[in-house]
């Protein structure tokens, strides 16, 4: 019973990792760049939600939707104005650029909102439900349900909508997509905006657990482990990878005495390194995406 309890907690925190990893994967699949600022966008999402819900006193759902919209628009212009300029330069340049952007966002957040820890009330805070002796908090439930809903929405978007198919086409082959009349640049910016929006969703869902401050951007680093484990190119892989990381973290935290001290904090990174060494393709990759030497 304790194990199932742990699994549920692990799945809930894993969903957050999965959502952030999903952001990495969307951008990577399309543009072959990695957005190291994903965690910082999540942080911005949480802060914007705090401003709208906590300070302006908006209704939770309205504030949620508006936050996602604001961050998505922000993501669109981030690509259109800044990131697009370095297309074609070595991967190193993108890595440095997005790290720099992450620092700017974090600095901006701590100047504009301050370095205190904030919270805002949600309909889920403090409520729990009991089921066969399992204690499930509404917050965890909201995370799991939110992730599932978002996954289905994205699935239908990418499978049935015209823009979704255009996105898949341009990530499959840019040049061919151009020839078919797809506005590839616009599509790429749109993918950045979706990815930022997903990060904002993760930020708002996470806010009741970790509260809102600048340090939550570190989640982005753990989400790398989820993305790599899932194969870094597969959308279901990102979520499954995230859930595995979440569960591993919970288990390491509980059984710390049997392993070594402090294993919980680095378990995600250990999984990441082991995946890269043993099976760098990841669990869900359909083709070999990693060049072998």
């Amino acid at each position: 019973m304790q194990l199932i309890q742990l699994l549920i907690d692990g799945i809930a925190s894993g969903c957050i990792y999965g959502l952030v990893a999903l952001g990495f994967v969307l951008i990577y699949k399309a543009t072959e760049t990695i957005n190291f600022a994903q965690g910082d966008i999540l942080m911005l999402g949480a802060f914007v939600a705090y401003s709208l819900i906590g300070i302006l006193g908006m209704d939770y759902l309205t504030g949620f939707a508006l936050t996602v919209l604001i961050i998505a628009v922000f993501g669109f212009f981030l690509d259109a104005v800044v990131v697009r300029q370095i297309i074609g330069q070595p991967a190193f340049a993108t890595v440095m650029l997005t790290i720099g952007l992450g620092f700017i966002f974090r600095g901006f957040a701590s100047i504009y909102w301050g370095t205190d820890i904030f919270s805002f009330s949600t309909p889920f805070s403090g409520k729990i439900t009991e089921f066969n002796g399992l204690i499930i908090s509404y917050v965890n439930l909201s995370i799991i349900v939110g992730t599932a809903v978002l996954m289905f929405a994205l699935y239908f978007f990418f499978t049935f909508s015209k823009i979704g198919v255009a996105m898949r086409a341009s990530s499959e082959n840019q040049l061919a997509a151009y020839y078919m009349g797809i506005p590839v640049k616009f599509i790429f910016s749109l993918i950045w905006s979706i990815s930022a929006g997903v990060a904002a969703v993760a930020g708002v869902l996470l806010a009741p657990i970790t509260l809102v401050d600048t340090s939550i951007s570190l989640i982005g680093l753990k989400a790398f482990a989820a993305a790599v484990l899932g194969g870094f190119g597969s959308i279901p892989g990102a979520i499954v990878g995230g859930i595995i990381i979440g569960i591993v973290e919970q288990l390491c935290g509980t059984y710390e005495n049997y392993l070594f001290e402090g294993v919980r904090e680095i378990s995600a990174y250990l999984v990441l390194i082991l995946t890269l060494i043993i099976y760098p393709r990841g669990l869900f990759s359909d083709k070999a995406e990693v060049k072998k030497v």
């Binding site: 720099g100 620092f103 600095g107």
Partner: protein
Amino acid sequence: MRFIFKTKYSQDINIAKHNGDRFWYSLLILIMVVLPLVLDDFYLGEISYICILSIAGIGLMILSGYTGLASLGHAAFLGVGAYTHAFLLTNGIPFYASIPVVIIVSFLVGAAIGIPILRLTGMYLAIATLALGFIAEHVFIKWEHFTGGNRGLPVPQPEFLGMSFYDSVFFYYVCLVFLIAAMFAAINILRSPTGRAFVAIRDSEIAAQSLGVNLGLYKALSFAISGAFTGLAGALLAHYIGYLAPDIFNIFLSLTLLLLIVVGGMGSLHGTVFGAIFVGFLPQLIAICRDYLPSSIGSQPGLEPMLFGLILVFFILYEPLGIYGRWMKIKLFFELFPTYKRQTFKKQKVFTKSDRV
């Protein structure tokens, strides 16, 4: 415009290409040697710190600038060097014996890290080194027997050649000598077949492989050499700081090293020194900025990361060759005056290169 008239093959392998180089670099070394007569202790300390940063920068430059492998966890090597040095000194090993051991240990650590992850390229490598940096920081905290954990580890300041490391003039000379030695070592490594292989790997792995470069071996070697330089810098840093705590060697230090090589100019050893000067004086620069900004913004703690990020983004977008690249442009302007063409350095239009197979 200077035309070098070559009469001997040995001229091709000279470090200094012509007498002008020889004159200016000798003058620079002479100025550095007499500097303690002019400057007071505070500035000597700053310049010693810049020398240490330059040595660490040389290490990262060999890995990232010349071999094209990104490392986001290089502070780990600084940590390995610093802790090994402090541990050896505490156990009574003299300074001159400790430094070679530190270099060998960090070389081996570099090789040990390089071998398992050299299958990775590009951003996978960046992510892996980032994770390794975190794990290393954690090891520094938890391995208390060796590092003292969160309590920290005082660094003994032994006598060396009858002088004490507390003497800032002496410490300045030690750092300067190590910087010059490291520079010579790096220049010679980079113009040897090993260094040529590094550059070949950076420019095209497939082409390098077809020319007979063993990618695995040379990537691991690059990691190891880079680790050795950075470890040496770590040992000197231990003396500079005086008291080691694990949170010194965090991700921010790794990123500062990256900022150093990006600002200095990727792929040039001059760039490491320019970058080190920039990074060394960055705190002062920020302090000056604070004075000029309105106090509501100037007193914020978030200003530092924000400026850090802005500088990084600015250089990546507008001056990818860094300060050294700018210096080359200025030099060429005067050499070619009045026929300098802006187009010489114009960014070429490039298309996305795909890593996918």
